[in-house]
């Protein structure tokens, strides 16, 4: 047998990532690059909100009702220390938006994490085991899907609010929101994962894993799941955007974050009463931030769907 000498300098992991198809298509796609830039900007700004924000909107000592409804600096009658003006309670809008975006992102990401966990587990079991379990789980998914997310969330949150009283509810609102948005949307993941598992489990590497004596759980988690990740990534982006919108809608309806700890949605909601009395900025500025955030996530999701679709480049 020949002993071929191969090049011993394998590129490092980082270099391989930078040279991958995905990175290449990213560099060639200005929309994706701008979206990623804006998303990172928003994400970093909200993560470091306590450092960036000039005021702490959660600290009542910082809030002076006399400062309420100052317009943004580019409008007449503004105070220089409040860049985006103040809201009806005298909170600096810029600081409140930073903290609010942070809450919205946390709720969105955690809710999607919960959805993904439930949906992937159920989808893997349904797809791999099949038979009666598959029918049962998918009918459950159908039932869940026939209730709209908002309807389920409104009923659930309204009941919990009535049960625990608004004091306790406000304290744990973040967790309630994560739970309800996470549970309401698991069928999206479950169906996608099940469909890919059905396609993957017929492939020969699964047979060869069985021949090597691996148990079903190992085959599902370690062999089939990593091969089903592309569609999971794609729906995750869409689902994060959806979860942020759901959270904002619920908060807008008064069933989400309390006004003392506003997310983007409750901020928009609290400013809505003042929109016709001239204080348009309280609603508009957080609204723009919400739209931009959701838009860039969706644009990234679109790009990712194109890149990860093997039909578009493998031929």
């Amino acid at each position: 047998m020949s002993s071929l000498s191969t090049n011993t300098n394998r590129p490092s992991r980082l270099a391989r990532i930078l040279n991958s198809n995905m990175a290449y298509s990213f560099r060639r796609n200005p929309v994706a690059m701008v979206s990623m830039g804006v998303f990172l900007l928003i994400a970093i700004a909200s993560i470091f909100a306590p450092l960036i924000a000039p005021f702490d909107p959660y600290d009542p000592a910082n809030i002076d009702i006399m400062n309420s409804e100052f317009p943004p600096v580019w409008v007449d009658g503004a105070e220089a220390e409040f860049v985006f003006g103040t809201d009806d309670q005298g909170r600096d809008l810029w600081s409140t938006i930073l903290y609010g975006t942070r809450l919205s992102l946390i709720i969105g990401l955690c809710a999607v994490g919960l959805q993904a966990f439930l949906g992937i587990t159920i989808g893997l079991l349904a797809g791999y085991i099949g038979g009666r379990l598959d029918s049962l789980l998918m009918r459950l998914a159908d039932i869940q899907l026939s209730f709209s997310t908002l309807m389920v969330a409104i009923i659930f949150l309204a009941i919990t609010q009535a049960m625990f009283g608004s004091e306790t509810f406000n304290q744990y609102a973040v967790y309630f929101l994560i739970a309800v948005i996470g549970i309401a949307e698991w069928p999206q993941y479950a169906r996608t994962v099940r469909a890919t598992v059905l396609a993957e489990k017929k492939k020969e590497y699964v047979d060869s894993a069985r021949v090597l004596g691996f148990g079903p759980i190992r085959i599902m988690v370690r062999h089939i799941l990593p091969n089903s990740l592309s569609p999971i990534f794609v729906i995750s982006t869409v689902q994060v955007a959806n979860a942020i919108i759901s959270e904002a809608s619920l908060s807008f309806l008064g069933l989400g974050m309390p006004p003392s700890q506003p997310s983007l949605g409750s901020l928009i909601s609290s400013g809505f009463d003042y929109i016709f009395s001239g204080s348009w900025w309280i609603t508009t500025i957080p609204g723009v931030v919400l739209i931009v955030l959701v838009l860039v996530i969706n644009l990234l999701g679109d790009w990712m769907r194109d890149v990860l679709n093997p039909k578009l480049y493998k031929g």
């Binding site: 002993s3 000498s5 191969t6 590497y205 090597l212 004596g213």
Partner: protein
């Protein structure tokens, strides 16, 4: 004592209305370290035989009857845990297409280490050491680097070597190779077969080679089974079956080889195709295609008889043999 002893193995598939018999009362033995070839047309039941030896027939198929005694234990009756413990560990399998049998998202090293650690208590580093040794045994150049590579970075022949190395990882007693070179190109086929033969001989591993290539069988194996429509129709020493086949079907297979034909002539193929498993003819399943078939062949199923050192299922074996002797005289 033989390593593997299959008795009256019958495998059926449940269809909507009735069941279809894919394997019909297969019986054969394999001694320790023996190499056995299973030949036949597509659909004869060769691969089903391979899978049922591992008890890996997936639904709607099932083992209906029979024993598969592997090292004294009946594979058909084993618990799931015992089966998992046996698969890959004592009995390994090599598939046809190396392009799709390795997991595309795991590196070679991850897959080999995982296999070892699923069966033995080893640290990752120890497992990696064993894997590298095995890769070297199958002549993989610079195995340390291959460990970090993904299957798509390697050629087909290289991948099949790696699959062979994975089959040998846990020092099994038996390897089932299901058309291991069909998907490779001809020059590499010879290399891979030579490698497989060498490793089986040096490690005293039993081999069941499933193939439709009689040339490969004659080089690789000591005994051969010829299958047709889910039955074994001829079994015996490979050399005798290749040199003097008794069953008309086996004769047809050998005559159909391109080497048996002069350039410019048509290949001597067997007329017709194998019957569908849902419509196996009465009597000898080969009778509709057999040029020697007589009335009896179409009505009664031939028993397996010993003839000239070969087990053969043919009513007319004696007459045909004498005819051939007369012709050559």
């Amino acid at each position: 004592m033989s390593l593997l002893s299959v008795r009256d193995l019958t495998v059926k598939f449940a269809m909507r209305d009735d069941t279809v018999t894919a394997l019909n009362q297969i019986s054969f033995d394999l001694a320790k370290g023996e190499r056995l070839g299973i030949v036949g047309e597509s659909g004869a039941g060769k691969s089903i035989t391979g899978f049922s030896l591992m008890n890996l027939i997936s639904k709607p198929g099932f083992i209906d009857n029979g024993q598969i005694l592997f090292d004294g234990e009946d594979v058909a009756q084993m618990s799931d845990k015992a089966l998992r413990d046996m698969r890959g560990n004592r009995m390994a399998m090599i598939f046809q297409d190396p392009m799709v049998t390795l997991n595309p998202v795991l590196t070679i090293g991850q897959q080999m280490v995982e296999t070892l650690r699923a069966h033995r208590k080893l640290s990752k580093a120890e497992a990696a050491q064993i894997a590298i040794v095995k890769l070297r045994e199958v002549y993989i150049p610079s195995p340390e680097e291959r460990m970090d590579q993904y299957p798509h970075e390697l050629s087909g022949g290289m991948r099949q070597r790696i699959i062979i190395a994975m089959a040998l990882l846990l020092d099994p007693q038996l390897i089932i190779a299901d058309e291991p070179t069909t998907a490779l190109d001809v020059t590499i086929q010879a290399d891979i077969m030579e490698l497989l033969l060498e490793l089986c001989q040096s490690n005293k591993v039993g081999l069941i080679l499933i193939t439709h290539d009689l040339g490969v069988v004659s080089q690789m194996t000591e005994r051969t089974l010829v299958m047709y429509a889910g039955r074994i129709i001829e079994a015996g020493k490979t050399r005798e079956i290749i040199n003097d086949p008794q069953h008309p079907y086996t004769q047809g297979l050998i005559n159909a080889l391109p080497q048996q034909t002069l350039p410019g002539q048509k290949l001597k193929q067997i007329p017709g195709t194998m019957p569908s498993l849902t419509a196996i003819p009465r009597g000898c399943p080969f009778s509709p295609r057999c040029q020697y078939a007589v009335e009896n062949c179409r009505n009664t199923l031939p028993e397996v008889v010993q003839y000239a050192g070969i087990e053969v299922a043919c009513h007319e074996v004696k007459r045909l043999h004498n005819d051939r002797l007369e012709q050559s005289a």
